[in-house]
């Protein structure tokens, strides 16, 4: 499907990964980890930055790569196939374009270079205990005190808050009128007095990824607001529309599937290779076919003419479903040793028994259930499509 001229680009990226991706980082990604320590992320970001690939989506004058859509597509695929971490998402992928679109010159000058250099890690303070799928119901309050906002309340499910230096968030500055009104987009220093981060452990037992963040009389300079007061909803919508395709997780799933097939070819069940066990084979093939259908659909929607209106929803729905099918298969392939609980991988010791996949298959299987819940649960995605596509 890829234009031949881009095959050279693919080779270039592939070669770069082979030569520059540190083994220890690769090994962590290969264990399906989403909880990479900050120092690993920073190290990889700076390796990419040297190559000019750390902030590829930015305008060229700010350090962007100027790639075509197809090149972005290839780059993302090759990252995954090499077990490389993705480019950091909150700073590079979300906040930066929002600042570029809505920020003041001062904000741009202050914020963007520190993202590009991995000096600041950002987290996204959108969801709240009572406002997940129904984001506009958020309540965390920022009172305008003239030269500063006074923030009280809490944010929930905040990915990477425990390693973030700063947060961009949505705060309630007015509670009259429509609930989408009165929301303001504000940048908060995570080290400010009154900010407290409380990690939320997930039942898979792995490392920390998400947190609840509590704000008690946190003072934020008024110039940390992005865009107009009360008008943050528009910025949020812009920001959330940036990731139209990544949530399909196709590239990551392709890599997981490769791992699964390699593993299943080397295992035996009864007197068959696991990959030839009829039951396993059928499940594997079905998952592979579905992933192929999602891959082809992603490509078609990306490059094939008019937008369908809810590409992201469609791809997120089916992509995360098949991703979970593949990870469930990996868990099942490991057999009884899948039951070994290794706990937080950063603190885990040696695997006591079983194949190396036993060290992460179950964690990944359980942990990735979240992909069907976060960023708008798959039920919400269907409701979005019913409205946006079917007009219901």
């Amino acid at each position: 499907m890829i234009a031949p001229t881009n095959e050279a680009f693919r080779q270039e990226v592939r070669e770069f990964m082979r030569s520059n991706l540190p083994d220890d980082i690769r090994a962590k990604v290969a264990e399906e980890r989403m909880d990479l320590p900050k120092e690993d992320q920073r190290r990889w970001h700076r390796i990419l930055d040297k190559q000019g690939w750390a902030v590829p989506s930015w305008p060229k004058e700010l350090g962007g790569s100027g790639w075509t859509d197809e090149q972005f597509y290839i780059f993302e695929r090759e990252l995954s196939l090499a077990d490389a971490p993705r480019n950091t998402v909150y700073g590079v992928g979300m906040l930066a374009p929002t600042i570029i679109e809505y920020g003041t010159d001062q904000q741009k000058a202050e914020i963007l270079p520190r993202i590009k250099n991995a000096d600041d890690f950002w987290c996204q303070g959108f969801s709240e205990p009572g406002a997940g799928s129904d984001l506009a119901a958020l309540k965390c309050k920022a009172e305008n005190k003239g030269d500063h906002y006074l923030i009280n309340g809490s944010k929930m499910w905040t990915s990477e808050a425990h390693i973030a230096d700063r947060m961009f968030g949505l705060f309630r500055t007015d509670s009259l009128g429509k609930k989408q009104h009165g929301i303001t987009f504000i940048l908060v220093d995570m080290n400010a007095p009154g900010v407290e981060v409380s990690p939320i452990k997930t039942f898979d037992g792995g490392g920390t990824e998400i947190n609840q963040v509590f704000f008690t009389d946190v003072k934020v300079p008024i110039e940390n607001r992005v865009g107009e007061e009360h008008q943050g909803w528009g910025l949020a919508k812009y920001l959330l529309s940036l990731e139209r395709f990544g949530t399909a997780e196709v590239s990551r799933s392709m890599r997981t599937l490769q791992r699964l097939k390699a593993f299943a070819s080397n295992q035996t069940r009864g007197n068959l290779r696991l990959i030839d066990d009829p039951d396993f084979k059928q499940r594997l093939t079905r998952a592979e076919l579905t992933l192929r259908a999602v891959e082809l659909t992603e490509y078609r929607l990306l490059f094939g003419g008019e937008p369908a209106g809810a590409e992201a929803s469609l791809l997120k729905l089916k992509g995360t479903e098949v991703q979970n099918d593949i990870l469930e298969l990996l868990h099942d392939a490991v057999g009884v040793h899948a039951l070994i609980d290794m706990g937080d991988p950063e603190e885990a010791g040696e695997l006591p028994a079983g194949p190396e996949e036993a060290g992460y298959a179950a964690r990944a299987h359980f942990n990735f259930r979240k992909t069907m819940i976060y960023a708008g649960s798959n039920e919400i995605q269907k409701t979005i499509m019913a409205k946006a596509v079917l007009g219901l």
């Binding site: 592979e288 192929r292 469609l314 269907k382 596509v389």
Partner: protein, 360 residues
């Protein structure tokens, strides 16, 4: 319109418009229902129209009397025929038999393109050869049983294959040959087919080394069946959506029930996925890509399962009215079910795909 606009070239748009126009006029559902109960199960007059409109010649080269179109162009036709549930020998004659004749008997293509003769051709099943060849001097005779020759009753000749000298050979036999007995029947999708018994039927050898061509013909037919199924799925999606928006129950439009909305979304999403697979299969056979067998099996397996499931869901979403003979819905389900039966079902193609995927 929830269906994505097809990415047609200008020429393809002209073909699509012309086919659409013809079918709108001549294949309303009532007209279709009449056509399938006619003596031969389709209208000879329409077949002549197909010839005049250039449909029959589309995928043949100009030297052969065709119009030099591609299988992609032909997929536009089979897709629309599917949407209108127009049952004809198009696929068996123009694609299955036609692609073989184009290779080995280009002189016979002309009659096909003109619509004066119809040729029927079975699914080439390389694992189960049903025919044996006898050679006497330079003359060949075929014996054995072949099931499911589409529209053989209407055909003037059959393209058949058999193992010979450790290779695969393909033959042409006239349907009025002595020793050939056809048991003909209607099929539930509104088509016709025959089982053939051959007892020493004289046969014209087209090629003694036909395997690649037979495989190509097989793959082309499978890919076009996928394209047909994909079009049918979109038609089902549109008609089911429209029905739920009209029909009321408990004082509300059916389309206002969240459960039904989400089920319709499932149908829509699956239509998108099925289309991607079908498009890819047609693309693969149009360019004779080296991985065409895998890509076609992927599509046929995926659409075989999914097509039936969507068809069943759309009957269910219609409720009682979906069970009636006077609505196309059930007929779409029957055609989708037939498509899965033909040329290897989902389970068979899944195994093929797995085989290719592993050796890759």
């Amino acid at each position: 319109m929830t269906r994505p606009a097809p990415l047609y070239t200008e020429e393809q748009q002209i073909i699509a418009d012309s086919v659409q126009r013809f079918l709108q006029e001549n294949y309303s559902f009532d007209q279709r229902q009449k056509a399938i109960t006619s003596e031969r199960g389709f209208s000879q007059e329409h077949w002549q129209n197909f010839a005049e409109l250039g449909w029959l010649g589309l995928p043949f080269s100009e030297e052969q009397g065709g119009f030099g179109g591609s299988l992609k162009d032909a997929a536009i036709i089979t897709g629309l025929l599917g949407e209108y549930l127009a049952m004809t020998p198009y696929l068996t004659a123009v694609i299955s038999a036609g692609q073989v004749l184009a290779n080995f008997a280009p002189g016979n293509v002309c009659e096909l393109v003109e619509g004066s003769k119809i040729v029927s051709c079975p699914h080439f099943d390389f694992e189960n050869s049903e025919l044996t060849v006898s050679k006497q001097g330079g003359a060949f005779t075929l014996s054995g049983d072949i099931p499911f020759l589409p529209y053989a009753e209407s055909a003037s000749s059959l393209v058949l294959h058999a193992e010979m000298d450790g290779d695969w050979a393909t033959f042409l036999i006239p349907t009025d040959s002595s020793g050939l007995n056809l048991k003909s029947y209607k099929t539930y999708d509104g088509g016709r087919a025959s089982d053939a018994e051959l007892q020493s039927v004289p046969a014209q050898l087209l090629s003694a080394h036909a395997k690649p061509a037979l495989e190509a013909s097989n793959l082309a037919t499978m890919a076009l069946l996928c394209a047909e199924a994909s079009s049918i799925l979109w038609a089902l999606e549109e008609q089911t959506l429209a029905y739920l928006q009209t029909r009321e129950q408990f004082g509300q439009k059916l389309s206002s029930f969240q459960v039904l909305q989400h089920r319709l979304v499932d149908v829509y999403v699956n239509c998108q996925l099925a289309q991607s697979m079908a498009d890819d299969a047609v693309e693969a056979v149009s360019n004779w890509a080296s991985d065409a067998p895998q890509r076609v099996s992927a599509a046929k397996a995926y659409i075989g399962d999914l097509g039936r499931k969507i068809g069943q869901d759309c009957v269910q979403l219609h409720g009682g009215i979906g069970m009636t003979n006077d609505l196309p819905i059930g007929h779409y389900l029957k055609r989708l079910t037939a498509i899965d039966r033909l040329y290897g079902d989902a389970a068979w193609h899944r195994n093929q795909f797995a085989m290719f995927a592993e050796t890759k």
